[in-house]
């Protein structure tokens, strides 16, 4: 039973008179527990694919089944619910709220969880967020704002936010792109630990040395899947 399955996914953009085919007839399936890297030159459509799979964008045509359920036709609320409870995101530029503390940033998915059937009290939300921060080793900095944290620490806060709702899936878009190599290795180590606990991870990167750490590597060129390499 696939966690993710796509059939002939296409995504077109129009820029002026020109139609750009960002994703071309892409068929893919992802099993639970996989750790997948997506690489390709810039403009190859790797981020677009990640956003479509992460329900932040919609395909122009083709079908997408998440957990064997078709995604097309879901309402805004249902999509928001899936993003909230089923998946987490880690972005290259962290995307933390600058005015909120690390703790409040991590609590945010739980706060919106109330709109999707969540029943946690504020105290419970706080507790959950603190233990997520503990997992990424930042419990002692939970009251700091993002601008008081280093890049690596910010990304770890973002990861804590991604996992706080115990998602099945984590989508990471160049998570180490803005970090020095030491911090990058730490982040990758975190992903590997999460994956070992059963979380499925899809990570876009342009760094071959990072891509190689994944057990499965997808390589895109001009929007098409040109290589699907499985490791040992």
């Amino acid at each position: 039973m696939s966690l993710i399955r796509t059939e002939s996914l296409n995504k077109n953009f129009t820029r002026g008179d020109e139609t750009i085919r960002a994703i071309r007839v892409l068929t893919l399936s992802v099993e639970p527990g996989e750790f997948i890297s997506i690489t390709g030159a810039s403009g190859s459509g790797k981020s677009t694919l990640l956003y479509i799979l992460g329900l932040l964008d919609t395909p122009t045509s083709g079908r997408y089944f998440l957990n064997n359920e078709p995604v097309e036709g879901l309402s805004d609320t249902e999509l928001a619910g899936l993003r909230n409870r089923f998946m987490g995101f880690v972005f290259q530029s962290f995307h933390l709220l600058p005015r909120a503390s690390a703790l409040r940033n991590v609590m945010m998915p739980l706060v919106y969880g109330a709109g999707h059937g969540g029943v946690l009290s504020e105290a419970e939300q706080r507790e959950r967020a603190i233990s997520a921060l503990e997992v990424v080793g930042l419990k002692d900095r939970m009251n700091h704002r993002p601008n008081e944290l280093s890049g690596g620490q910010r990304q770890r806060v973002a990861i804590a936010r991604a996992v706080v709702n115990n998602p099945k899936l984590i989508f990471a878009d160049e998570p180490t792109g803005n970090l020095d190599s030491k911090s990058g290795r730490d982040i990758l180590g975190l992903f590997e630990r999460l994956n070992a606990q059963g979380v499925t991870i899809l990570m876009v990167t342009h760094d071959p040395s990072i891509a190689e750490r994944a057990r499965r590597q997808l390589i895109l060129r001009d929007g098409a899947l040109v290589e699907d390499r499985r490791g040992i």
Binding site: Y51, L56, D57, D76, T77, A80, G81, R83, N84, R85, G88, F89, F91, H95, L96, L97, R99, M108, P109, V111, Y112, G113, A114, G115, H116, E122, R161, N165
Partner: protein, 402 residues
């Protein structure tokens, strides 16, 4: 997202930019403040008129010759009567109306009053001895004239405080003789200082017996009749009795108008209420300006926080959550402005009351709830469009927005 969370987020973002928040709510502060101030002013005017009316006495009944439309309650035009109103009418009322405690005719005129070289022009009321029981005109020294003095039209006069001061200075005026026009009158009483009541300066008046006044002005008809009902509940009965008696004496024709203090006060209040509403409506226009200010700043907020909106949506915020959050901010702005406006207006009105205690324009309590309600509605009305736009932004566009 719960209500508390929404309020917390709204306040948090307003506190993050205190100066901007302060400038944004200024329009609301002025708008709500102006409404409360003007309503208080109208209310103050009403209180003032009411207390003036009541200061003149209670259960007052006014009879004027001439018939006027019942709805106006402000009396008929002077000189509209077909028949004269005379002292005989007053006697008939006094004899037959059971619910009338005191009744007097009223003759009005202006005279020149002289004592030696001092001259003053004053208004003179010609009344009978019952007049002080109808209108509160407290005697300071001496006494009001007696029934006998009235009946015989004795030339005696009771003067207001200022008239006496002008003519006699500090000297005792009681028993002195003054000239009203060319007739000599003996001063038998001086009023206590009363000041202005409903536009009439009682300190500048003189009172003489009705018959003396008719002789002085060479007239045979009354300006009107004033009466006092024996009790508050008896006012309507007294009015009915007076009407009946006067009608009978006019072969059934009702060419006179009977007004009560209550009805005059009511019509006065109607006018003042109208004035208050008009003032409040004008002030409401400034709320519009305040609302537009809020809408402006909400547009700026939405643009500035595009990326934040994207982030929130990515972690599971529904469109409606974004809508609620931004609407809450707009409402927080307008209600905050309303609170400051109400608070400021209350302080100003209390300050004015302390400075001028005779004019009580303290903000009435009932204005507070509607003022906040209006502020709330303005926040919703002017916040909903920017908030709705924010909720429609595509997540990816928002995330990429720099």
């Amino acid at each position: 997202m719960g209500f508390r969370e929404i309020v917390r987020l709204g306040l948090e973002s307003l506190l993050a930019q205190k100066l901007r928040t302060a400038l944004t709510i200024l329009g609301m502060v002025i708008g709500v403040g102006a409404i409360v101030l003007l309503v208080s002013l109208g209310q103050g005017a009403k209180n003032y008129v009411t207390s003036e009316f009541e200061g003149l006495g209670t259960n007052l009944i006014v009879v004027q010759p001439g018939k006027s439309d019942k709805k106006t309650h402000m009396g008929p035009p002077v000189g509209a009567a077909q028949r004269k109103m005379t002292t005989a009418d007053v006697m008939a009322i006094e004899k037959r109306a059971l619910n009338v405690e005191a009744v007097s005719g009223l003759v009005l005129g202006t005279v020149t009053v002289r004592f030696e070289d001092a001259i003053s022009n004053i208004t003179v009321f010609g009344t009978n001895e019952q007049f002080p029981f109808i209108l509160s005109v407290p005697i300071g020294r001496g006494q009001y004239f007696t029934r006998e003095e009235d009946e015989y039209g004795r030339r005696v006069v009771v003067l207001g405080r200022n008239v006496v001061n002008e003519l006699f200075g500090d000297a005792d005026p009681i028993g002195q003789t003054v000239k009203l026009n060319e007739s000599e009158f003996r001063i038998i009483g001086v009023l206590q200082p009363m000041g202005n009541k409903l536009g009439l300066d009682f300190d500048e008046l003189g009172f003489i017996p009705t018959e003396a006044a008719l002789k002085l002005f060479n007239d045979d008809k009354l300006f009107g009749i004033r009466a006092k009902a024996s009790s508050r509940v008896g006012v309507d009965d007294a009015v009915a009795e007076i009407s009946e008696i006067l009608k009978e004496r006019r072969d059934g024709e009702e060419d006179f108008t009977v007004l009560t203090q209550v009805s005059m006060m009511e019509s006065m209040n109607t006018i003042l209420n109208m004035l208050t509403y008009v003032l409040a409506a004008i002030a409401a226009i400034s709320m519009l300006v305040g609302g537009i200010g809020i809408m402006n700043i909400m547009w700026v907020t939405v643009v500035e926080r595009t990326q934040e909106i994207g982030i929130r949506r990515a972690v599971g915020a529904r469109r409606v959550d974004i809508l609620k959050q931004l609407l809450a901010e707009a409402v927080a702005l307008s209600v905050l402005g309303g609170a400051v406006g109400v608070g400021g207006a209350v302080i100003i009105t209390v300050g004015l009351y302390l400075a001028f205690p005779s004019f009580d324009m303290r903000a009435p309590l009932w204005i507070i709830a509607p003022a906040f309600l209006v502020a709330f509605v303005v926040g919703v009305v002017f916040g909903v469009v920017p908030a709705w736009r924010a909720s429609r932004i595509e997540i990816l566009d928002a995330l990429r927005y720099e």
